[in-house]
């Protein structure tokens, strides 16, 4: 008897704790849902917006969220921004845990059937450039040379017109959005992780390693570029905003903010705010992205470019 009593107690307690956990979650969802449903008029918008996903897009969303909440007509809306990666963003938005899923890639590339339910909001364009350590002595690389380097066919810089120095590849993980973009539009094929190559989780670390290790090559978004690394021309084309918008420079991708179905009013207000000219020509440019409206070319899921 003495033994059974505590056991019973533990079981009941466990049950209570679990129920309590479930209960609180439900109430939270209810409150946020009712908050937006009751206030359809734009002047009285309130509620909470949760945006989760891509770390490449995070700085932009965070900065605009701060400004958005400071606006008087939106002061009742709470915008929360979390990182976690494109995969997390897409999973959570299609699962309903997040209102907005930020992603570097088209949802169709990561999800299967769930992607059909998601509505794409393209808020910016990010261009990427191959970068090398300043020591490598290379100014321009053709597509074929890049492919040879990243597939391990070329292992010394002198084979592509540089110094006599071994090439060290600094990659992002194979599931990363930045890597996908670079492989798809710069190399035209996905590559294998070679022996001796380095993989880093963030663009910041990639930049640090490329700037320090002799003979290293990596790729970074334009916003990360500075004098510490050597930006290499791609097929003779420089990675500049003008070349990207005119379609001469092909290594770029949209930054997506996905919603499940049509967004609820508070979410829509936030997305409209990001798409507004003030943000597009202000924050977007300031943080090193390219406004979607400036693009003279368009690209679809399959990578087909049209004017």
């Amino acid at each position: 008897m003495k033994l059974k009593k505590p056991l019973l107690m533990i079981c009941t307690l466990a049950l209570v704790v679990m129920l309590a956990a479930c209960g609180s979650k439900n109430t939270q969802e209810d409150s946020s849902a009712s908050g937006t449903a009751n206030n359809d008029k734009s002047s009285e918008l309130s509620g909470s917006v949760l945006a989760v996903g891509s770390t490449a897009l995070q700085p932009l969303v965070e900065q605009t969220a701060q400004k958005f909440m400071a606006e008087s007509q939106y002061s009742k809306i709470q915008v929360q921004v979390q990182g976690g990666g494109s995969g997390t963003g897409l999973t959570q938005v299609s699962g309903g845990q997040a209102d907005i899923g930020n992603s570097d890639v088209f949802a169709e590339e990561k999800l299967k059937d769930e992607a059909k339910e998601l509505v794409d909001h393209q808020v910016a364009v990010v261009a990427m450039a191959a970068v090398t350590n300043p020591d490598a002595g290379v100014d321009n690389l053709t597509k074929q040379q890049l492919v040879d380097i990243f597939t391990g066919k070329v292992t010394n810089w002198k084979e592509v017109g540089g110094k006599d120095e071994a090439i060290v590849i600094v990659n992002r993980p194979s599931s990363s959005g930045t890597r996908k973009t670079f492989e798809k539009y710069a190399l035209g094929a996905s590559t294998e992780d070679l022996k001796g190559s380095i993989q880093e989780e963030s663009s910041g670390t990639v930049k640090k390693i490329v700037s320090e290790s002799p003979g290293s090559i990596g790729y970074l978004a334009l916003s990360y570029l500075d004098d510490k690394v050597k930006v290499v021309k791609y097929d003779g084309v420089e990675a500049t905003v003008e070349n990207v918008t005119s379609g001469k420079y092909p290594v770029w991708a949209y930054e997506h903010m996905y919603t499940k179905g049509e967004p609820k009013p508070a979410v829509k207000a936030f997305l409209d705010y990001i798409a507004s000219d003030a943000v597009q020509n202000g924050d977007v440019v300031e943080l090193g992205y390219i406004p979607v409206s400036k693009m003279e070319v368009k690209r679809d899921v399959d990578g087909n470019v049209s004017k």
């Binding site: 505590p6 107690m9 533990i10 307690l13 466990a14 704790v17 679990m18 770390t55 990182g83 976690g84 990666g85 494109s86 995969g87 997390t88 897409l90 999973t91 699962g95 990561k110 999800l111 060290v168 993980p173 194979s174 599931s175 990363s176 959005g177 996905s190 590559t191 294998e192 992780d193 070679l194 022996k195 001796g196 190559s197 380095i198 993989q199 880093e200 989780e201 670390t205 640090k208 390693i209 320090e212 290790s213 290293s216």
Partner: protein, 311 residues
């Protein structure tokens, strides 16, 4: 417990106010601890259940064979080379190599430090070293990783062939991280030695060095080993600091100075970019399960060491 339960029988005026008060206190205290323990148990069980259900799905639902998973050397979850392959042997190798090497570097240092603190200069030695070691234990792992990336990696690059990144750099960073673990366990064991042991050794005419090397060390060896195993367990589970300096190439490296990966570094690297429910994501959970399994083994070893040697 029995004494408390039988208490009321001996108290003559059975329901005095004071007795009631103490009884209520007792009950409150007991329920409170029960709640805490129950919560702990629920948390542990649900974590194990969650990780196991996700991790085992790789084998039962997605049909990856356990042999291919544990002994395959090709990690290509996105299927860049045709069929996706989920071989995690390079990561298991990396985890063991870094943590063993780290323990190898850290053990002599920490054993000497604890001997210094307890046997050689028990006075100011302890006063000086104790806070230093506690400080070392309190430094967050990101800081270690960052120092590793800015100091250890360039140093390795200049001294050894290669890019400075690799198992050697990872082990070096980890060895500093596990120093406090081993040192504190070892010095606890040393200071809990019965005085008689040392005194009889001195009485027999042994020098201090003879006493340390032939009496003290053999006696506390199991406890020191416990510290080493605990340190290894910490090294095995450390993700961030290692990930920053090891390079993360999914291959078994040819040398200690070539880019390699550990189980934890791959999980943190890929976690955010996988869609939950996909085989890739499940494979990461299986690796988490493998990590947990290893932790259980480490705990088991510690238990065995403790049981075998009680002074």
């Amino acid at each position: 417990m029995k004494v408390i339960d039988e208490g009321p029988v001996q108290v003559q005026p059975a329901r005095s106010a004071r007795w009631k008060k103490h009884h209520a206190e007792d009950l409150a205290g007991r329920s409170y601890t029960f709640i805490c323990v129950a919560l702990l148990i629920v948390i542990i069980i649900s974590i194990i259940y969650f990780v196991a259900s996700k991790g085992l799905a790789t084998f039962f639902r997605d049909g990856v064979s356990l042999g291919d998973f544990l002994f395959g050397t090709t990690w290509d979850p996105e299927g860049n080379q045709g069929e996706p392959q989920y071989g995690v042997l390079p990561f298991i190798f990396g985890s063991f190599a870094t943590s063993l090497l780290a323990a190898l570097i850290a053990s002599p240092l920490s054993i000497c430090a604890s001997l210094f603190m307890t046997e050689i200069v028990p006075g100011w030695g302890k006063k000086l070293l104790q806070p230093v070691i506690e400080l070392l234990a309190g430094i967050p792992s990101v800081v270690y990783g960052f120092i590793g990336l800015t100091v250890v990696v360039p140093f390795m690059r200049n001294v050894f062939p290669g890019q400075g990144i690799g198992i050697a750099a990872g082990a070096l960073v980890l060895s500093v991280m596990i120093l406090p673990t081993i040192t504190s366990v070892a010095s606890d064991a040393l200071s809990s030695l019965p005085r008689g042991l040392k005194e009889s050794s001195f009485a027999l005419g042994a020098t201090r060095w003879q006493t340390i090397s032939r009496v003290i060390l053999p006696t506390v060896l199991p406890s020191i080993l416990t510290g080493v195993v605990l340190g290894m367990a910490r090294a095995f589970g450390e993700a961030l600091a290692v990930q920053m300096v090891i390079g993360n190439a999914p291959h078994i490296p040819r040398s200690l100075f070539e880019s390699a990966s550990t189980l934890t570094s791959v999980i943190t690297l890929d976690m955010g970019n996988t869609v939950s429910g996909s085989v890739h994501s499940n494979a990461l959970w299986s690796m988490a399960l493998a990590l947990m399994f290893m932790t259980f083994i480490f705990v088991l070893i510690v238990r065995l060491l403790e049981r075998r040697h009680r002074i």
